[in-house]
Symmetry: C2
């Protein structure tokens, strides 16, 4: 019976289509559970560049910061690829994450049993399923490290970006990872490159210190190159992975790819004390299929479930959305990206409606 403000940023490409389906589901949740959701749409990414010249305009920032959570679609597309990097859609995303203080990006890579045959790995490797949660630090590391730039030194250009972490940045994301591991399989693998990088040696030290507060969690450390291997060789060995922004970018995408159904994977970016959590599908803006009712809205709908669970503390509602997705899959409905012979092929809007009907 609550009343909540949700900033809705459809963004570019298939963003608006998939967000529309999540909104359909949200309004059913509102009716069924007697909540009122105040949906506050705002321009973001390429759409915002077109309307106001920048990817994350102040008006959008105001809407986001005064909301309980932010739901967004995807940003970017060929139209904006040739712009100056400083005002490209991606910069808007980085600025939004930073403004929201969203230091912990939760990226589940789960193999839905109904979609096991979509998995890119050999069936015997994934007989035990895949259920990994990557906790990626999101507002530090070489993404934001200074100094950074391109300069002429000794007569030639030199490009540099500083991979840097302060103790408190590592500690807070490690705490989120340990807390999350406590609610799951109690195994946490911290990924770094401590055999080479000073920044990784501090990462490992601080994670090891935080571990003292979580004696029940089994902590291991793995080098990033080995982690990239083990995700392929034995993904079932992982429960929760915690790592920095750059390694997390790479490994969470690798883990997602392995499941073979990236159109199904949600994400949450949380952490700020009085700032909203951000919820978005893992897939991109897919300009090639935009506007054709071909996109899979499930990743966005599951992102909405994470929003209900983490930012609004509505776990029964989140469970209902997740159960509805599972029921629709079990009933054999598939968008094109996950279609197999013998299944029922549906478009983006039909998929959204089917899920909404089952909430």
């Amino acid at each position: 019976m609550g009343s909540y403000k949700i900033a809705v940023l459809p963004g570019d490409g298939i963003g608006p289509e998939v967000v529309a389906e999540a909104v359909k589901v949200l309004s059913i949740v509102g009716k069924k559970f007697h909540h009122s959701f105040d949906l506050r749409y705002a321009d973001f990414g390429g759409a915002a560049i077109d309307s106001s010249g920048v990817p994350f305009p102040p008006a959008t920032q105001d809407v986001c910061m005064s909301s309980d959570a932010v739901l967004f679609g995807a940003v970017g597309g060929p139209k904006w690829d040739t712009l100056d990097p400083a005002i490209r859609p991606e910069k808007g995303l980085l600025a939004l994450r930073k403004a929201a203080g969203a230091f912990a990006n939760l990226r589940p890579a789960k193999l839905f049993s109904e979609l096991a045959d979509a998995c890119y790995l050999r069936p015997d490797i994934v007989a035990n399923g895949i259920d990994i949660l990557v906790v990626r630090e999101l507002i530090g590391d070489v993404y934001f490290g200074e100094p950074s730039g391109i300069e002429v030194r000794d007569g030639e250009r030199v490009g540099f970006s500083n991979m840097i972490y302060a103790e408190h940045e590592i500690r807070r994301v490690a705490e989120v990872a340990f807390e999350t591991a406590m609610k799951r399989g109690k195994r946490l693998c911290s990924v770094d490159k401590a055999n080479v990088l000073a920044v990784s040696r501090l990462w490992r030290e601080v994670v090891t210190e935080v571990a003292k507060g979580y004696p029940e969690v089994e902590l291991s450390h793995m080098y990033v190159d080995n982690a990239a291997m083990q995700l392929v060789r034995n993904p079932a060995a992982f429960d929760v992975i915690v790592t920095g922004n750059l390694f997390g970018d790479i490994l969470s995408d690798e883990a997602a790819a392995i499941t073979g159904s990236i159109g199904m994977l949600p994400s949450a970016s949380v952490g700020g004390a009085n700032t909203p959590g951000l919820y978005e599908p893992v897939h991109g803006s897919a300009p090639d299929i935009a506007g054709q009712n071909l996109a899979n809205p499930v990743a966005t709908i599951l992102s909405l479930a994470m929003l209900l669970r983490y930012s609004l503390n509505l776990s029964a509602e989140a469970d209902a959305v997740e159960a509805a997705v599972a029921a629709v899959l079990a009933a054999g409905y598939r968008t094109g990206d996950i279609y197999r012979d013998g299944m029922k092929r549906v478009g983006c809007t039909e998929m959204g409606q089917l899920i909404a009907d089952r909430v």
Copy 2:
């Protein structure tokens, strides 16, 4: 009918066993093709730490630098894991690469048709095989970038490592990659994170400039997170990949893992003008199976083939070694790591002998 000096660094764990088999093959090559190989053994890695306190002693450096090429096994193991990072076995490897000026690391990830069922990917994904060559920059990037360290700032520890590339470092490795692509499928994919990192923007600029000299090569650019995905989704789409030291570390290991037979994969590190090329298997020192005649010597023997080809310009000899490996596989011989029902299981020394016999 040449005479060559080869520095041999067996190293740690299974290093000595697999190197011994490569040496067996080399001596047959010497006899058959009437070359004399002066093998100059030296301590390296943990073995060198034990004998002289440092992983890459000056005596070893002298041996390497006065040789035509360096063949080595693997370094590291639990015995040295607790040492100060400054004198750990890995530091020796980095120092050797740097001393040799070996800026281009060539890492083939190939699926041997006889071992197709070892591949970790779904059979339909790899129906067209996998034959990728990763050209990894090896002596720059955040591996060696300064400033780097851990310091107290504003009352807390801060760790930092500088991801930095100068124009000439990018240019020379890009040239190697384009040259290599010309001899293969003429497709080159440059991997960076130019949507976020300044250092990657320079990388992309310089690679694009170098491309002008190779109009026959089809150049594409890919972000590292997407590359980590595409290696899983469609590895057959790649021919040559060129990337920086850190991204190359991760992606070359991911590509190797996908083939499922990391015990088969060689590598070459080349580039210095008057310095030796370095040749080593991709796998590590595997302390758990060391000394039990269980290791697969093929990766080291194929590294030897690369040594003959690239450093000594002996391509008939290199072909003979590669053909011998293929013949032994075709005859059904397998070490434990690649064993399948119905094949003939052999140990490390038998495998080496079988290959030597067929040269």
